[in-house]
């Protein structure tokens, strides 16, 4: 692999937080005045990964798994306890300002716009901060306006924007200097379906057209399924899956669910190889079948030929259910094949 092709390189990156605990109630707080129990929490525990230019990577994990901490180290906000990281060949926590000029960052829970200023003025300040020339700025704003519908918002003060409007503006703000790498920390948090959709479309577009490398953390698995070819799953500060999103399904899904609806109730499905009935309710029956060993076509064909059915549908398990499953069962660390990572 060529050196210049790597956007982000992380090796043995760790971050410990020193947390002092105070006891419960008044007496506990009083004791804490004199003696504090110190506790070290490892938020990110020696993680390694490489992200190539133009990749769109989902970075997921439960609350407190260390996603945001990783992003904050890669953007130069936090200094790691140990390990190394390079973004665009720059060490973020050594050269924060140089790094900041070449990345875009959106933290969904915060805004980088100026609360009291109209959006237009916020953008103009960012233009000066990032030293973008006026013609470049104008054409970039034009492009962002077309994709995100910014025009009606431009003269509104930021504090008057709705969450969805603000998020569109924040995403635009992070792209004013057209950075090669974009970090998005929960950019769709609290947004309605339409707002999510427009943001997803836009992200797909810049990833495809501009070749922007995007790292996205989210709790919305639909974001991941629609956007991210590659998925990194973090658990308690460690990487437990790093590979293609599609491959995750193949790896962890061995069953599919079929929903069958009959014209009247009382039908019992039995004797089809590989098929188990999960639930029966009125005219409907839910089945699972082993998709490693049996083809979907055969199973549906058999059902359709033996019974008179009104409707039939196959439910693909969502990435969400897979990940929920992973969290619940604490599957041992899965390492993807080299081949899948380098695709």
């Amino acid at each position: 692999m060529q050196q210049g092709n790597i956007a982000i390189e992380v090796k043995g990156l760790s971050k410990d937080f020193d947390v002092s605990e105070s006891g419960k109630g008044f007496s506990g707080k009083l004791k804490a005045l004199f003696h504090r129990r110190r506790k070290i929490i490892t938020a990110v525990d020696a993680i390694d990964f490489e992200i190539n230019r133009g990749e769109f990577v989902g970075y997921v994990g439960e609350n407190g798994a260390g996603k945001s901490t990783t992003i904050k180290m890669l953007t130069g906000i936090l200094v790691p306890t140990s390990g190394s990281a390079e973004v665009n060949g720059i060490i973020p926590f050594k050269e924060r300002k140089k790094n900041a000029a070449k990345i875009g960052v959106v933290f969904g829970q915060r805004t980088q716009l100026w609360w009291d200023l109209p959006v237009r003025e916020s953008f103009d300040l960012l233009r000066v901060i990032f030293r973008v020339s006026q013609p470049d700025f104008n054409s970039q704003i034009k492009k962002l306006d077309k994709a995100l519908g910014l025009d009606p918002l431009m003269n509104m003060p930021v504090r008057k924007l709705s969450l969805g409007q603000r998020m569109r503006c924040d995403i635009a703000a992070s792209l004013i200097h057209n950075p090669p790498v974009l970090f998005l920390d929960e950019p769709t948090i609290g947004l309605d379906v339409l707002a999510k959709e427009s943001i997803r479309n836009f992200l797909t577009e810049i990833n495809r057209d501009e070749g922007t490398t995007i790292i996205l953390t989210t709790h919305d698995m639909n974001d991941i399924e629609q956007l991210c070819k590659r998925l990194i799953i973090l658990e308690e500060g460690k990487i437990m899956y790093d590979g293609e999103t599609e491959l995750l399904k193949q790896k962890f899904i061995h069953e599919k669910v079929i929903e069958v609806e009959f014209h009247d109730d009382g039908n019992v499905i039995q004797g089809i190889p590989g098929v188990t009935v999960v639930r029966e309710q009125g005219c409907k029956t839910w089945l699972t079948f082993d998709n490693d060993n049996y083809g979907i076509g055969d199973v549906i064909g058999t059902i359709a030929s033996r019974y008179e059915i009104k409707d039939i549908s196959v439910n693909e398990p969502s990435v969400e259910s897979i990940i929920r499953n992973i969290y619940n069962t604490r599957v041992t660390r899965a390492t993807p094949s080299e081949e899948s990572r380098n695709k």
Binding site: S68, I77, V79, A100, F107, Q109, Q112, L125, V128, I129
Partner: protein, 266 residues
């Protein structure tokens, strides 16, 4: 640091202050009240003695000092809890993702704040005081220019002091008591209440070890003519040395504080 950017941020911070106009009105009353209390106090004190000169100040001189040191102090108004609040709510993260120096952005924010207070509070307070009190200011162009330079240096020192105090939040998060302590130290040891000349002998070695007297006392003495123009030059030299020392402390603390920083609220 790009000067154009610096000025832009000064103007943003200035505009933000304009939105709090009621604050400003209260601030004028409050500032004038201080001036009135201190001048009355000096008049009462001086009337108790037969001598007209104390520690080198006539009544006119001490009243002039009281008015002007207050004018400088109000012009130096800045929000010393900015960094503390940014750490408390985690919004400091949004500043660190920009390719700008945190120190200079903070300075720009302070300058905008102070310029507003200077225009909206210092100017009316001085104008009223000139009519109400017996004030004497020797008017020399050169003295005025040196005073302005000394004020700028003093202002940088105050801003650095607040930066250092604010950075403590990287370690302790809750630093409000520190800020109160700092405020008391600054107001007293800068000569903000009583000129340094009136301090008891045993405090003077301490005063000379601290940078506070270069923030308000010395710039004021230049304007009221207590310092000769030659002395004024050495005052400015001393101020520059303190800027270097405090600048170094700012750098060291920033370097160490970065490693301690925790972003509150995710």
């Amino acid at each position: 640091m790009n000067p154009k950017l610096f000025l832009k941020f000064v103007s943003v911070s200035f505009q933000k202050q304009v939105t709090y106009r009621f604050d400003c009105f209260v601030g004028i009353v409050n500032g004038f009240l201080y001036v009135f209390i201190f001048t009355s106090l000096w008049k009462a004190l001086y009337s108790q003695f037969d001598t007209t000169m104390h520690n080198g100040y006539t009544l006119t001189a001490i009243v002039t000092y009281a008015v002007l040191v207050m004018a400088v102090r109000i012009s130096f108004t800045m929000d010393d809890s900015i960094i503390y609040r940014k750490v408390m709510d985690g919004s400091i993260a949004m500043e660190l993702i920009r390719p700008t120096s945190f120190f200079f952005m903070n300075l720009a924010e302070n300058v905008g704040h102070s310029l507003f207070h200077m225009m909206a509070r210092t100017v009316p307070i001085v104008m009223i005081s000139v009519f109400l009190f017996d004030i004497y200011i020797p008017f020399e162009v050169q003295r005025l220019l040196i005073f302005i330079v000394s004020c700028i240096a003093g202002y940088i020192l105050v801003s650095m002091m607040n930066f250092i105090a604010g950075l403590l939040a990287f370690w302790f998060i809750e630093i409000f008591p520190f800020l109160l302590f700092k405020y008391a130290f600054y107001t007293f040891f800068s000569g903000g209440i009583v000129p340094i000349d009136f301090f008891p002998e045993f405090l003077k070695p301490l005063v000379n070890l601290l940078p506070f007297q270069y923030m308000l006392y010395y710039p004021t003495t230049i304007l009221i003519g207590r310092a000769s123009l030659v002395e004024a030059q050495s005052i400015i030299m001393a101020q520059l040395i303190w800027i270097v020392i405090m600048g170094a402390i700012c750098c060291l603390m920033w370097g160490a504080g970065k490693k301690k920083l925790i972003i509150q609220g995710g």
